[in-house]
Amino acid sequence: MSKALLGWRELKPGGIIEEPGNSSKRLTGDWRTFKPVINQDKCTRCLRCWIVCPEPAISVVDKQYSWPNGRSWKFTVEVNYDYCKGCGMCVEECEPKAIDWVEEVK
């Protein structure tokens, strides 16, 4: 993050940024004070959190997961804590209350 700024010789004409989506180098995860933790045993994979996440820090990954009662899911919802700003919109949207709101302790 704390890299030196580009000098004028290195700048592209017109201020073009040649690398799409390079803001992912900025880790905004240090903004948060509370973090959402998905309880995979409660998560019904409705994907509401994935839809509302404004970051987007929540992703759907093809990872098998089985509930203790034997029901298995082909995909899992994961939070990327490098980017999650801790707004809590996913916690509010979660219908089965599967996302815990945990204070960040360092």
Binding site: N22, C46, P54, Y83, C87, E92
Partner: protein
């Protein structure tokens, strides 16, 4: 046209997994603009050129030398979003005619602007674009003030709302004027597609984006965007509040497709506007009488919509 009536997005499983909006942008925690832009790009896909007016989304997604956009994107001033989008669309049309681009390739041109850049500053460029009939989708994310520069009033700010330029004190009690009905003004241009949308109803919103992109001509989608900083509510309630706007009838999700008016999210039992107003700090000075006044205006608007549709789509207020 009968095909168009079918919803494109019905459930979360219709939403593509690809992301074209990268994380690491500087939007406030809990800013619903992130949700709107993310879903917009999911609908539009990679063959898209975005023309972005100055505003929250522009400032926070492109802190030079970084960008959150994975599609071609250009920043323009407040006043010329629609003009630049028109130029890009015309260039694509000419290059297709000259054979420099594959004519069968669909390239979406999206103009994205906030309420300041649309209601106030960019209105004449927008009107010109609509009149000339460029095939551009104009997306307006409406956070009801100039949030980017520090919460100044705009033409979109509703009556009684606190902003830094309509302060609350012994003389003024928030904004004096009403919110400008921008979608009605755009609809008066008789363009093929006008819609109002709400991120709380994501399938409805994405369907409208899709319809807008598939329209052969200009289209306009007006999206409400609750602003945690300017409206003064807890960041976690962004989506709850936008849904509440529809549930109370303050925000009506409609679409006007080829002169056919349709309310896409009917509200059979409306909640009182108090529920919506009490959640926001910008309305914290309101008395019961003021809320009553707002309720009256919302009732009138609901009546007008019901008359236009010809049946009751926005129902009466029911205390819950």
């Amino acid at each position: 046209m009968s095909q168009m009536a079918k919803p494109f997005f019905r459930t979360v499983y219709d939403v593509p997994r690809e992301e074209y909006f990268a994380p690491g942008h500087g939007l406030c925690a809990g800013c619903t603009a992130g949700t709107i832009v993310k879903l917009l790009l999911k609908v539009a896909g990679p063959n898209t050129i975005v023309v972005n007016a100055t505003g929250c989304v522009e400032v926070s997604t492109t802190p030079y030398p970084y960008t959150s956009w994975e599609v071609p994107w250009i920043h323009v001033a407040f006043e010329n979003t629609a003009a630049v989008a028109s130029g890009i669309e015309s260039a694509i049309r000419v290059m297709k005619a000259k054979g420099r681009l594959d004519p069968s390739k669909q390239i979406n041109v999206i103009a994205l602007a906030g309420d300041g850049g649309t209601y106030d500053i960019g209105l004449q460029a927008l009107s010109g674009m609509l009149e000339r009939g460029h095939k551009v989708m104009y997306v307006l994310y409406d956070n009801e003030a100039y949030m980017n520069t520090g919460i100044q009033r705009s033409g979109s700010t509703p009556e009684f709302a606190w902003t830094t330029t309509t302060p609350v004190g012994s003389v003024l009690r928030g904004k004096v004027q009403q919110k400008k009905p921008i979608s009605d003004i755009v609809a008066a241009h008789k363009i093929p597609y006008v819609a109002t949308a709400n991120p709380g109803y994501f399938a409805d919103m994405m369907t409208k984006f899709k319809k807008g992109l598939e329209t052969n001509g200009p289209s306009f989608v007006h999206v409400i965007q609750p602003c945690t900083t300017g409206w003064k509510f807890d960041p976690r309630y962004g989506i709850v509040l936008s849904r509440l706007a529809t549930e109370t009838g303050i925000w009506i999700n409609w679409e006007l497709e080829n002169e056919q008016f349709r309310v896409t999210v009917p509200v059979p039992r409306r909640k009182p506007v108090r529920d919506y107003i009490k959640m926001q700090g910008r309305f914290s000075h309101l008395t019961d009488q003021d809320i009553e006044e707002i309720q009256k205006i919302v009732d009138q608007e609901a009546d007008r919509i019901n008359k236009m549709v010809g049946r009751t789509v926005i129902g009466p207020v029911v205390e819950q």
